[in-house]
């Protein structure tokens, strides 16, 4: 039974970004640029998804030496299935098109 995640336009945008390349680990800033979500919106969503078991996190060594390690995210196998269900769910209320930042 998946933990309840509210189907908001922001959640949808984030899930779509995470589903883009399912097995690839993503950085917070990259997700922010792709979804157009500010850090104040993005991180509470990531926290909620992680606490609900949808998201895996890990610390990765930096690509350039001297820089701090980065936190990375990807959907868990359960998260992949639950997110597909969530996206296929009939919308409960009026949903706006997900905000996707121009690249």
């Amino acid at each position: 039974m998946p933990a309840k995640i509210r189907k908001s336009p922001q959640t949808i945008a984030l899930i779509l970004a995470l589903q883009g390349n399912l097995n690839q680990w993503r950085y917070g800033y990259d997700l922010s640029r792709e979804t157009g979500l500010k850090s104040g919106t993005l991180y509470p969503l990531l926290m909620r998804l992680r606490d609900a078991g949808w998201l895996q996190t890990r610390w990765a060594a930096p690509e350039v030496s001297g820089r701090p390690p980065r936190h990375m995210y990807r959907l868990t196998s359960q998260g992949k299935a639950w997110s597909r269900d969530l996206l296929n769910e009939k919308p409960a209320g009026r949903l706006r098109k997900p905000v996707l930042a121009e690249s």
């Binding site: 850090s39 104040g40 996190t57 701090p68 936190h71």
Partner: protein, 198 residues
Amino acid sequence: MRRFQMNSARRAALSLLMRAVNALPSTERDWARAIVTELEYVRGFGAAVQWLAGGVTVMIGATIRNSWGAQDRRNARAAAIGFSLLLIPGYFIAAALLNQVGVSFFFLPIEHWLSHPAEAKVFNVISPAVLLGTLLVVLVLNAASLLHFGKDQECGGRAVSVIQLRLQFWNLAAILLSFVFTAALLGYAFLENFVPRS
């Protein structure tokens, strides 16, 4: 050269922030570190400030949520809503009092309503309902957040009803202010509407 200075300033800020992050409770530390380290990769000064401001907001919110229990949050929410609602009668009372001492600026919008008979009629019906209704909502909301009704068992196994009263400063302050404002409004209404018999 300028780029070097910008990077050095950013590194110095990052190092300071990392020290601040280490002071956070362990549950928030990982996420705070994640937000701060990403700052190194955010392009542009404005975007970096925005990123940081969002991160600080997230951390303050998370710290408050995790350090306060559910009941504390309920009390805080009731007090916050209460004080926001108190602004409505508070404005009316402050404007009327200031008008009495010659500062009419805040009373002008109210006076504008009262100067037109049709609008004054509507105002006289709506304003008591809004002002006293608001105060009643503040009172009920905050009193409900302080009172807890439950069931308990005595030594003999007999079930008893229990009423618990929490003493929370901000909720009590909201309740007290709602009483003071109610007294002020009723006093004002009394003075405005009744004249001594001759």
